[in-house]
């Protein structure tokens, strides 16, 4: 062979080697290491459908903060890019989207998902791919207990909300006959579990139960089931459109017990759907009121929303905002050398105080907050109840 040929051969080998290295490094990025100046995170939630307010609100709040951070130069020189897909609050779609996010988009973490059944559907995938699942908009117990290394929750659990509800109903409202209206899927069951736990702690029982199907408004059957038993309070587990339909229909037929929702309902969307007929409806909240400027983080939220020309201030976007804040704090703590493991270590060492709200994780606790607030709808707003 002549020299030319040899060189060509060497050249070819080198090219192949280089390409291989690049590819391999690319692989490494997806699993463990973040390289480069961009941190890509993925979101798949309800951007359409009867739960769209939740997905959209979450995204909006988070984006406001991420944009602010990026404008300020990012974290450790990295800008955050969020890829978001719509799963319409259907677990099948969530799985597909997540697979795409992981394998194609190669995101570092999954952020701001919405829903219990959706989370449940991708949980195996998370454990399998060993990817961070951050601040899902759900209080499901299985994301908190047993502690999944990769799952980080900000909000209080449904069990906490259920306990607060039952405590209020029994001690403050003095109601003994409590019924349940749930979405007939993992979300409904997740909260039902909490309600039953709270009731059984007090040696009480549910006196009736009604159900409806996710992403529908077929609440009449469930309402009738409950009317037969006539509870004085109904704990409701659903999304804003369906719950509003239920409350309006009940009131229209002269049936007016205490209606108690959990935070997942989407408080502001619920009030809007209730169209002035919702006064007296109770909602447990896991975030401070977006109107409570006294809270440091709320004030910050309001300022940033205003700066971003966003006028729709509501619980859900506040939560998205707060989720983003905590995420960024962890990134700050993890440093430039960002891997999944370093993220986890940083998170579990987190001790971030925003005003008098304290966010912390530990090895045994992947739920940052524990607080539950009770609010009541009055004059088109959710008002705090003590």
């Amino acid at each position: 062979m002549n020299r030319g040929a040899i060189l060509t051969r060497v050249g070819r080998l080198l090219t192949v080697g280089l390409v291989a290295t690049v590819l391999l490094s690319g692989l490494a990025t997806a699993q463990n290491m973040v390289a480069g100046d961009e941190l890509v995170i993925g979101m798949s939630n309800a951007q359409s459908g009867p739960a769209s307010a939740l997905g959209q609100g979450l995204k909006q709040g988070a984006m406001v903060y991420f944009d602010k951070v990026n404008k300020a130069g990012g974290i450790h020189g990295r800008k955050i890019r969020m890829i978001s897909y719509d799963d319409g609050y259907e677990p099948r779609n969530t799985v597909k989207n997540t697979q795409k996010l992981i394998s194609e988009d190669k995101v570092f973490a999954l952020f701001g998902y919405v829903g219990t059944p959706t989370s449940k559907a991708i949980l195996p995938l998370i454990s399998q791919e060993q990817i961070i699942y951050f601040s899902p908009f759900t209080g499901a117990e299985f994301l908190r207990n047993p502690v999944n290394r990769y799952v980080f929750n900000i909000r209080s659990s449904y069990f906490d909300e259920a306990e607060a509800q039952i405590e209020y109903l029994t001690t403050v409202a003095g109601i003994k006959g409590i019924g349940l209206f749930i979405q007939d899927d993992a979300y409904g069951l997740a909260v039902k579990g909490g309600i039953m736990r709270a009731l059984q702690k007090r040696e009480m029982d549910l006196i009736g139960e009604g159900r409806y199907t996710r992403n529908t408004l077929d609440v009449s059957a469930g309402l009738n089931d409950l009317k037969k038993v006539n509870p004085k309070a109904i704990s409701m587990v659903g999304t804003y459109k369906a719950m509003a339909t239920f409350i309006k229909e009940a009131k229209a037929t002269g049936y007016n017990p205490s209606f108690f929702n959990v935070s997942f309902v989407g408080t502001d969307a619920l009030i809007q759907e209730l169209d002035g007929k919702g006064d007296g409806t109770l909602v447990t909240q896991v975030m401070p009121s977006p109107d409570d400027s006294g809270q440091q983080i709320v004030k910050q939220y309001r300022q940033d929303m205003g700066a971003a020309k966003e006028s729709d201030l509501n619980y859900v976007s506040l939560e998205g905002y707060i989720d983003a804040v905590v995420f960024v704090e962890i990134l700050k703590k993890a440093g430039r050398d960002l891997t999944t493991d370093s993220f986890i270590s940083a998170a579990e060492a987190l001790n971030y105080k925003a005003g008098d709200i304290w966010f912390s994780f530990s090895r045994d606790n992947h739920q940052a907050l524990q607080k539950v607030y009770i609010t009541k709808v009055a004059g088109g707003k959710a008002v705090s109840v003590h």
Partner: protein, 521 residues
């Protein structure tokens, strides 16, 4: 069409039991198979089901502790992926369903349901229940499949049996039997010359049958030959008997008629002696009655005499009494006189008293009244006594008259008694006369009775003779009949024997048979 259903062939006779047996056998197999497969499948489902239920019950305790209803529901979703699982539900301790992905159906037929308690092992309380329902559809499917297979096999077997049966019967039974049939039909026609072929003799029962048939034919030939000879001998004897019996019959008839005559005479005699007996009987009766009556008469008479005596006595007594009465009235008369005297005296006293009274003046007025009264009283006494005297006279007269008539009566009675004595004697004579008559009549009666008895005995003896004669007549009649039948039978026998050809007909034999015919008449 009807012929197909009749059992007119061996093939058909075999066919029905074989088909029944085959059918029954396959039914048994089917049942056995069904039960086995059923129990296999059921036990499979059992093991699977109970294993699954156990596993779920154990693993769900963790979810119960944590109130993770979502996880329980996820469990349910997994379990119902199994096609055999109809439903799976987790319940709380009050049996309210906790899961929603599967509901308990109302109709739990055709299902195996496993219920398990989910216990809190530390507190040993029941946290809830689990129910899984397994469908036994798989069982039904396999059962149906099995039934179809078995039915097909049964059909195949039955057709096989029909064909096989037909073939076997023909080869083993019918073919060899044809030979036997042949021989039998020849025999039926009377051809005892028939012989069986030796070539197709097998060693089974049919072969034995054919062998026996051959023996039978040989024996028959022998026997028929013997019978023929005997028939001829019988015929002879029958004729002889017939003749002698006819003679006897005549004699018996004669006997019979004589006896009849005697019998009728005796019967007449018997009838008349019976009459006499009857009459003498009635004479005796009359005599007896007469005796009886006269005895009664005698008795009555005695009673009459006794009564007469009694009257006589009474009469005497009356006379005595009357005389007494007469005396007594005389006594009364004397007493009357005394009373009269007293009355008289009293009257005098009274008169004196009145005088004294009048002389006493006023003081004696009362006394005078008394005296007047006393005088009146004495007057009335005297009146009364006077009446009494009159009456007594009347009585005395009457008594006298009475005595006279009584004495008259006594006389009459005396006379009567004398007459009755005479009558009494007459009656006694009559009695004794009647007695004698009675005895005589009895004697007559007795004699005639004896006569009657004797004649009875004669009549019965003669009857017996008549009977005997009749019986002997009958026997003779019977013998005649028998000998006639005998003759007839021997004729029949001969004609029957003629039907059989015992040897193959060659001219020599024919001659002999013709002679036999003549002899038998």
């Amino acid at each position: 069409m009807k012929n197909i259903l009749k059992f007119n062939s061996v093939e058909k006779k075999f066919l029905l039991p074989i088909l029944l047996f085959t059918f029954a056998l396959f039914v048994l197999i089917a049942l056995a198979g069904l039960t086995t497969t059923s129990s296999l499948i059921t036990s499979q489902i059992e093991t699977r089901g109970s294993a699954m239920a156990n596993y779920m019950a154990k693993t769900s305790t963790f979810y119960y502790y944590n109130y993770d209803l979502g996880a329980l529901d996820g469990f349910v979703k997994e379990v119902i992926k199994d096609q055999d699982v109809v439903y799976a539900v987790f319940y709380d301790e009050k049996k309210n369903p906790l899961t929603i992905s599967s509901t308990e159906p109302v109709n739990k037929k055709n299902m195996l349901v496993y219920e398990k308690e989910i216990k809190d092992t530390t507190k040993n309380t029941i946290m809830g229940y689990l129910a899984i329902g397994y469908s036994l559809e798989a069982l039904d499917k396999s059962r149906n499949k099995f039934l179809i297979v078995i039915s097909l096999c049964t059909l195949l077997a039955l057709s096989g049996m029909i064909i096989g049966n037909s073939f076997l019967v023909r080869w083993v039974i019918l073919k060899p039997l044809k030979e036997a049939n042949n021989v039998a039909s020849k025999l039926a026609d009377g051809d005892l010359t028939v012989e069986l072929k030796e070539t197709t003799r097998s060693e089974d029962e049919i072969g034995v049958l054919l062998g026996n048939m051959e023996h039978m034919v040989k024996k028959l030939r022998e026997i028929i030959g013997n019978v023929s000879e005997s028939a001829m001998a019988v015929d002879n004897s029958a004729n002889i008997i017939s003749e002698s019996v006819q003679d006897q019959a005549v004699i018996a008839n004669q006997q019979s008629s004589s006896v009849s005559e005697i019998t009728s005479t005796m019967e007449e005699f018997f009838a008349s002696s019976t009459e006499i007996a009857e009459h003498s009987g009635s004479v005796v009766a009359i005599a007896e009655k007469t005796l009886d009556d006269t005895k009664k008469g005698a008795m009555t008479f005695e009673t009459f005499v006794a009564k007469m005596s009694e009257i006589q006595e009474d009469n005497q007594n009356s006379i005595t009494e009357i005389l007494e009465l007469g005396n007594k009235s005389k006594e009364i008369s004397s007493v009357m006189e005394i009373i009269n005297n007293i009355a008289d005296h009293t009257k005098l006293i009274a008169f004196n008293a009145a005088l004294e009274a009048s002389s006493a003046g006023e003081a004696g007025k009362r006394f005078g009244v008394v005296a007047a009264e006393i005088r009146r009283l004495a007057d009335s006494v005297m009146d009364s006594t006077g009446e009494i005297e009159t009456k007594i006279s009347e009585i005395q007269e009457a008594t006298n008259r009475l005595v006279v008539s009584s004495e008259k009566g006594t006389k009459g009675i005396q006379e009567g008694m004398e007459y009755s004595m005479e009558t009494g004697e007459l009656l006694s004579e009559i009695v004794s006369g009647a007695d004698a008559t009675s005895s005589a009549a009895k004697q007559i009666s007795l004699s005639t009775q004896q006569q009657k008895t004797a004649s009875e005995q004669v009549v019965s003896a003669i009857r017996e003779i008549a009977d005997g004669a009749r019986k002997s007549s009958e026997s003779i009649g019977q013998i005649t009949t028998s000998s006639k039948s005998l003759t007839r039978l021997s004729e029949e026998l001969k004609s029957m024997v003629k039907q059989f050809s015992l040897q193959h007909q060659d001219p020599e034999e024919k001659k002999i048979s013709i002679v036999l015919d003549d002899y038998s008449r």
